[in-house]
Symmetry: C2
Subunit: 325 residues, 2 copies
Amino acid sequence: MARRQGTAELVERVRSGDRRAVARLISLVENGTREELREVAEALNPLSGRATVLGLTGSPGVGKSTLANALVAQYRNAGRTVGVLAVDPSSPFSGGALLGDRVRMQHHASDQGVYIRSMATRGHLGGLARATPQAVRVLDAAGCEVVLVETVGVGQAEVEVAGLADTTVVVVAPGFGDAVQAAKAGILEVADVFVVNKADREGAGDVVRDLKGMLRMGPKLAWEPPIVKTSTVNGEGIDELWEAISGHRVHLEDTGQLEGKRRRRVLEEVESMVALRLRARTAGLLDQGAEAELADDLAARRIDPYRVAGILLEKVGPSTGESDG
Amino acid sequence: MARRQGTAELVERVRSGDRRAVARLISLVENGTREELREVAEALNPLSGRATVLGLTGSPGVGKSTLANALVAQYRNAGRTVGVLAVDPSSPFSGGALLGDRVRMQHHASDQGVYIRSMATRGHLGGLARATPQAVRVLDAAGCEVVLVETVGVGQAEVEVAGLADTTVVVVAPGFGDAVQAAKAGILEVADVFVVNKADREGAGDVVRDLKGMLRMGPKLAWEPPIVKTSTVNGEGIDELWEAISGHRVHLEDTGQLEGKRRRRVLEEVESMVALRLRARTAGLLDQGAEAELADDLAARRIDPYRVAGILLEKVGPSTGESDG
């Protein structure tokens, strides 16, 4: 009972914009006990759903953080409060705990209208996908009008996290992290806006041409993702990027797609959560009792992994019919 | 019954080294039906466990594929047959289906002692973790004495795939993909050997120093991962890398750790498979019947995602006690 009050009080402090409470609550959604997670989810639920969520994704080195910084400045100029969640291990936003690390981009760190937070990316598969939507809700409840989620666009979990946003900006650059790599990583499909960053470098025109070619090869879309060339060296294209993002927002609202997109997002979040909890049930199953013998048979190749998986599956959650064929 | 014979026959052809059968069987482990996967697992099980599995992981752009190519040459010179699995979306091995893509490194493509194959990386979260170990077994069964698995070391699924190997080589390079980024991505922990590639470039010495510093900060290890500087421009360090990899192999055998490592690996594989099957059961659960109403309540924020996950969890696999506490 005492703990329940504690969580409710913490959420209340978040609601009033207390920055230390925001930090504590995000830590809680990353590392809380099941009971705490349940309480936080219940308390946050009615307080969220107002913030615009912007995703920024792309390979390490394409300049996402510098762009994020430029976008934060745009939002601040427009009088909006902004939260930034860095779930990119290579982001300079991701903090200075490691040897040799420098936090380069936090011009905004002393601005009370900006909250910057990195998410731990080292946990178990799926942990990131569970904690990130809740961290977005924390910033939303704290009054951030815009939440910018920066993810590294390489890896399956990361592509999934990119699906969190109302508008997803995919950043590529000449050289590494180019259009072909983005296509292979599966991040082209999630793009609402393309940025070809480092436009001052050789090869930027080729990247734009490749992207246009790939878009032509794909299906005809109701919203054709604009391609914006930017350079954070000379400030080129930042205004155009801002317009492209705003244009997509208007498109979502005009066509009524925003609601549908958010609905799909929360359903996927629930599915991820169920999968994660089920996975937790399987951990260590082979360490004890009758199953330890199975593990020996498996190691000696007397039984194959697929069959063992079937046996464990029946134990964890017996099939209820067709769905498990 | 006819299909069962088909699978057994295909595995038999793989065993005799038929390259087209290898290609077909890998496609089957990527995309097969549940029944096919079951049959393939059973047939492959007694035929595998002989190959040495080498993992090569690191950020896009650090030069993994060029190193892979150099290692393949070393193994071929030593008279060993080699299979290469590229699960890195940015790898040139990953094929030429996309606009503007060039396959640069396939010197070995016409060598009958080398089999190169890319894995589809675009599927569902976890699909890669399921298919890759089976693809390793296919190459093992086909007589590859060494299987080299190239993964991009960014992203949680990819770190998990890196755990497949007997020996994991983590590649970093000055500039992007350096030691700090590797640490944040959680790939330092999986390293048995470190490579600082592009040693001809400025800053390579700093990367070596950073790595040494991080290793000193960590716990004392029975096997201290050697740090090898390489340059594929001038061939520097390739022999040293070869020796480091061989040295780790000897260490695994001398200390009896190879067996333990492989045992843990197959147990983790089974857990992943169980989790994936359970996840498949949850997909679409909210689309139908009484649950569709839950989805409406969820979208309207009348109920929170955590609570809905709890309801679905009970439906998919009722808790059997403590383990889900």
